[in-house]
Symmetry: C2
Subunit: 145 residues, 2 copies
């Protein structure tokens, strides 16, 4: 089966969804489910796109993310490192690691994100977590919550 | 961890490998392993690139392929259908389904291919399989073995 790419940010018959059902811990980001798993390959492949100035949640969880940048550029926090990412870079986000994507370079940031179908829910930072994260000035300057 | 894309077909510190160890059932195709799996996400993400005029094996296996076209265009046989594919199209190849990729449109064809780490080995067609596949004239005109 072929799911055709139709323009920069869309695929045939794939709906553009809310990033998450609710919350104010993210901004200007959408989600599309390109592959929803099958018993023989129980992964889900999502495409997220962050508009200029937006960001994903600052979160952590047990499950691992495998991310492939498809469009534009931006920056990502993984653990306590902020790194610039651009098209065709691959990012591995280990389990239990704080992470956040930001489209902070004047262009949208679009990326594929692969996860197990069976996975835990993300945790958002507590005030204590934020205090701890902000001890690193580079992290403090980057994160949005 | 970020694996940086360095040019059209390469990533930092990722080796370009033979497509398969041996055989004459493929042509002008290379393999790069971008992600080799971990217990929490036991998949392997490979990048294959077929130079102009080349092709992958005509094969089938129980495991499922999830393919994302990254560069150029070409055609793919899935089952008994030949379809044109180009950048950012997604192709699902179900288990036990004959398939072959060809860079037959004057440009290279580069694609990501996701599989389970734990998977069966591909089977190549027997003379009987080829005879059966060739009963469909569109398939007969396409396949290379």
């Amino acid at each position: 089966m072929v799911i055709r790419h139709t323009d920069d940010s869309h695929w045939q018959s794939v709906s553009v969804l809310n990033y998450k059902e609710e919350g104010h811990h993210f901004s200007r980001i959408t989600r599309q489910v390109l592959y929803d798993g099958c018993p023989e390959l129980p992964c889900q492949l999502r495409y997220f796109e962050i508009a200029v100035g937006g960001h994903s949640s600052l979160e952590h969880h047990e499950h691992v993310h495998l991310v492939f940048i498809v469009r534009g550029e931006g920056d990502v926090l993984v653990g306590n490192e902020v790194q610039r990412v651009s098209e065709k870079d691959l990012v591995t986000i280990p389990g239990n690691t704080w992470h956040q994507f930001q489209a902070d370079r004047g262009v949208p940031l679009g990326f594929l994100c692969l996860v197990n179908v069976d996975r835990d829910r993300p945790s958002l930072p507590t005030e204590e977590d934020l205090e701890s994260l902000r001890r690193d000035p580079r992290v403090a300057a980057f994160i949005k919550s």
